[in-house]
Amino acid sequence: MPTSYAFRLAMQSLKKDKWINLLSMLTIFAGLFIISISFFVFYNIEIATRNLPEKFSLVVYLDNNLGQEKIEQVISAVRAKRAVSSVKFIAREEAFRELKSTLKNSQYVLEGLEDNPLPDSLEVKLKRDAMGSESVKQLAEETKRIKGVSEVDYGEKFLDILQNIKAGVKITGLVLALILCTGIVFVCYSTVKILFYRRTDEIETFKLLGATKGFIRAPFIIEGAAIGTTAGFTSLAAVFVLHHFLFLKLINSVPLFKTVLFPSHVFLLLPLIGMFLGIFGAAIALGRLKY
């Protein structure tokens, strides 16, 4: 079948049943728009939590009175661990100076302290892919076993919360996207089914004249693709309008929004996603119809 004829039939049908098609398009648009906004929110949460590990570190406290050579050995042993990105030695004097400057306004806390009570320590930064709470726990235990190390401290609770937030965001996002995509496919499925039943007589004539299933199906697939793509373009336009008229203004006026990112490269895929869902819905409908 010449593709141009299938396109012509699809366009005629889109025009003839314009209200059904418009309604489907708007429903799919609403679904894609909600997915886009949700993605925008989840994307920014993900980015925010992804940057947090850079501020995360393990603090390794060393035994008192370790010689320089021993300290170097401990540093080398810690640095040799696969998950470790960098190791910084903090001398007890430096740590005390830092503590003093931190407690500048609460000097009374340090009153009565004659000696520096702090030990030498190491600040250990981790690689991004080693941020799982289990692997950090394991690293802490391994480090604790190194000779010369007295204690290892890390934000166990913080790490757990971070992991939970990330997992929660990922699962919520996936479930929401799955529900909405299923809804969109169902809308396309129902639309194509309705359009098919409205043209039963015509299709019967096509069949009796020798039309193959491919000839009959092609215009419906194109119609599904056209509805999905149009909905995708409309939601793309809506997202950009929202970005331009709302987020840009918020970014300029509310400091909290300054770090918000707009993933336009992902939103540009909306027409393609719409087309794919439209074709998928139409294909399921045509596969289930008996003709």
Binding site: L208, L209, G210, K213
Partner: protein, 226 residues
Amino acid sequence: MEQPDPMIHFENVTKEYELQTALRDVTCSIEKGEMVFLTGPSGSGKTTMLKLIYLAELPDQGDITIAGWNTGTLKESSIPFVRRNIGVVFQDFRLLDNRNIYENISLALRIRGIGEREIKARVYEALKTVNLRHKADSYPRRLSGGEQQRIVIARAIVAEPTVLLADEPTGNLDPETAEDVLKTFKDIHAKGTTILIATHNRELYMNSGKRVLRLEAGSLVSREVC
């Protein structure tokens, strides 16, 4: 010398609907290039026999062979290709009201994947055969019953099928128009097309010199030359 295979062959064919036997143990053949009339009272099984030939129905018993294809062993995906050998003049016309005459006739060619230039030439040629070339841009509802009948004939012959089936092609026509339609069929037959016309109009086949198959209550009761 070996006899050539018939174009259409029914072997002990029976077709039943829920509470009624439409065709009962029918055996008959129509040779290549032959023009045959199928007659009988209403409900005798004429339309069922045609439907079995153009594969709108399948037999409950027996074998049907059309242009060498055995319909009993045919895959569903092959049915459209068998139908492309058969032109049908439907009793209820089956013209698409939302398309003009040119589009209605060209549909039979588009289905076969023929190019636009050839479609144009062949559609106008078919319209010329039925003397309705000037109606190409009209819509079916604007035409009289006789004109619609001839448009359906044009659609049936435009793809040059090897078999032409016509179900009551003069059913609603006045005698003069019926005569024109019959003449059209004779012209098509003269080009070598095998034709089977189902009709209860005696005028159409009397003294035609063609074979007449007569059905009664689903059984083939006679096959004589009139």
